[in-house]
């Protein structure tokens, strides 16, 4: 409720598979609605399975909100590339993007649910991470 005037926290989905990323985004749209900025990215630059920093940066840009962006990732490289992408952001944006320690599909739905209620970035991250709590 503290981010009402700045818009809802954005959600970014990063998977090695573009199909998983897109499918997870579909689930968020259908289950949570359109009140949350949302973007997904998946696959390496050659179109194979993997992730790439440029794609992640684009997704963060697409889902940008002054309230911040929560990134949901699947395995290894998705996380390290996401962290790299965050480091490449302008300094004033860097602190407003977090990578969540949560399962990518469930975490995305839960994070978006939390965000749709106007919660802060910290609350969105905490809620998504409840899956591993």
């Amino acid at each position: 409720m503290n981010s009402q005037d700045r818009g809802n926290v954005g959600i970014v989905i990063v998977s090695h598979s573009p199909k998983i990323a897109e499918g997870a985004a579909d689930m968020v749209r259908q289950m949570v609605g359109n009140a949350v900025p949302l973007a997904w990215t998946g696959g390496d630059v050659d179109g194979g399975l993997g992730t790439n920093v440029a794609g992640i940066l684009e997704a963060i840009e697409a889902a940008w909100s002054p309230s911040g962006v929560a990134v949901l990732v699947d395995l290894g490289g998705a996380e390290t590339n996401s962290e790299m992408a965050v480091e490449m952001l302008a300094e004033d944006r860097r602190a407003r993007v977090v990578v969540c320690n949560a399962p990518v599909v469930e975490g995305a739905v839960i994070a978006a649910t939390e965000s749709s209620g106007g919660s802060s970035l910290a609350a969105v991250k905490r809620s998504a991470e409840e899956f591993y709590a």
Binding site: V109, T113, S116, G117, S127, E130
Partner: protein, 104 residues
């Protein structure tokens, strides 16, 4: 439909309670849980739910916790609400359950 025995409490510190039967086919699974938490978050009141009137109580604003309740179709959902807007909050969550979360 079992909310007729809702107990009224004038003071905000005393929780309001009511219950309703889950009518939608899937029970309180992912989609209904999301709808319920979204609804609960619109209110300042503390909103909790349980499968029994004695608890254990679950925070209705936490989608993860609500899904973990795994309430099946036919289960009676008990609500306990505390706060200044508790009365409208309780009415709103009960309406949602009665309505089968729009997917009955």
């Amino acid at each position: 439909m079992h909310d007729a025995h809702a107990s009224r409490a004038g003071e905000t510190s005393v929780p309001l309670t009511a219950s309703a039967v889950l009518v939608n086919k899937v029970g309180l699974h992912a989609r209904p849980s999301v709808k319920l938490t979204q609804c609960a978050k619109r209110f300042a009141a503390k909103i909790e739910l349980a499968l029994s009137g004695d608890g254990p109580w679950t925070d209705a604003k936490s989608p993860v916790k609500v899904m973990r309740v795994k309430a099946p179709q036919g289960a009676t959902l008990h609500f306990r609400v505390t706060g200044p807007d508790g009365e409208v909050a309780l009415a709103a969550v009960l309406a949602l359950v009665h309505d089968g979360f729009g997917e009955a």
